[in-house]
Symmetry: C2
Subunit: 196 residues, 2 copies
Amino acid sequence: MKEKVVWQGSTQLAPVPVVLVGCGNNTDIPYNLITVAWAGTVCSDPAMLGIAIRPERHSYGIIEKCGEFTVNLPSRRLAKTVDYCGVVSGRDVDKIKKCSLHAFPGKSVSAPVIEECPITLECKLQNTIPLGSHTLFLGVIEAIQLDPELIDPSGRMDIDRADLLAYAHGHYYGLGECIGHFGYSVRKKPGPVVRK
Amino acid sequence: MKEKVVWQGSTQLAPVPVVLVGCGNNTDIPYNLITVAWAGTVCSDPAMLGIAIRPERHSYGIIEKCGEFTVNLPSRRLAKTVDYCGVVSGRDVDKIKKCSLHAFPGKSVSAPVIEECPITLECKLQNTIPLGSHTLFLGVIEAIQLDPELIDPSGRMDIDRADLLAYAHGHYYGLGECIGHFGYSVRKKPGPVVRK
């Protein structure tokens, strides 16, 4: 048996997504952004995701009040913006303006779609689950907005073109090379080409 | 306003972790592994994570019955094993044996720690939330097991040495270069070195 080091439990699941969560409606509640790495898909049908936010964060009350939010997936070139939106508060700074981002309302929600992010998931809040330091908001993904540049000639999304960011143990990463796709371990190899 | 393409909602949060969830106790319930990409951190204090599993999967009943599970983070070199454990069922195959993996019980749970994975999170099931196609299991992370090779000379974990896998839009990826760490956008640069 290989020797292991045992530590007490901590949040070491990795890599995780790191996203710009948008909230507010730009009418009575100004738009705000908060960077969230405690995020994950939780259901395929209906398509749902979860984001975990501390109750003391400015966006918390906005999401609770509006009952909707967006999840904007940033590209690698937005890493510094993503970090900034995780360390300053919307109580003090208009982060969208400060970061020179552009926002417009979603198709299914009033929360902001961030133009500079290649992929945005529009979510309606379904469950609010207090857990301790964080509350888990579960949202149904109602619509997705994509940069047209992500669509390949066959009409499918080419995720590599989004150049997405990941987060692990306090560090931001780009994705490396693609290793394989779902099911590749059991796929029969095509037979040899027979030249006639 | 930049033109976007609008699609109906689907599970496009990315990148997400892709982990080997271990279950069973190796006494009355044999060990099993299931690959899960619908996983995320949900709380820092207590340290908690969520994994979403379809009720029809073999591991589902085992986790419900045992009330515990492990989350084993695989290295890039395990990509094919990870894929395999996501497409075959523990009803038909002893995946641990078939993949030449080695398992031993955790410190805080009886569920299997997979020796070949550099990081294992031992979890006790706290909430079971049915959502539709998937049920979200929330677990408290009780302990962590790490390969000693991950610990740097200062006693901290060097996550780069784990060479972790990510998953995006049906594809497996390694992580690319580290871009920065939390707070780097607002850190004051050190002043110039003054030569006396």
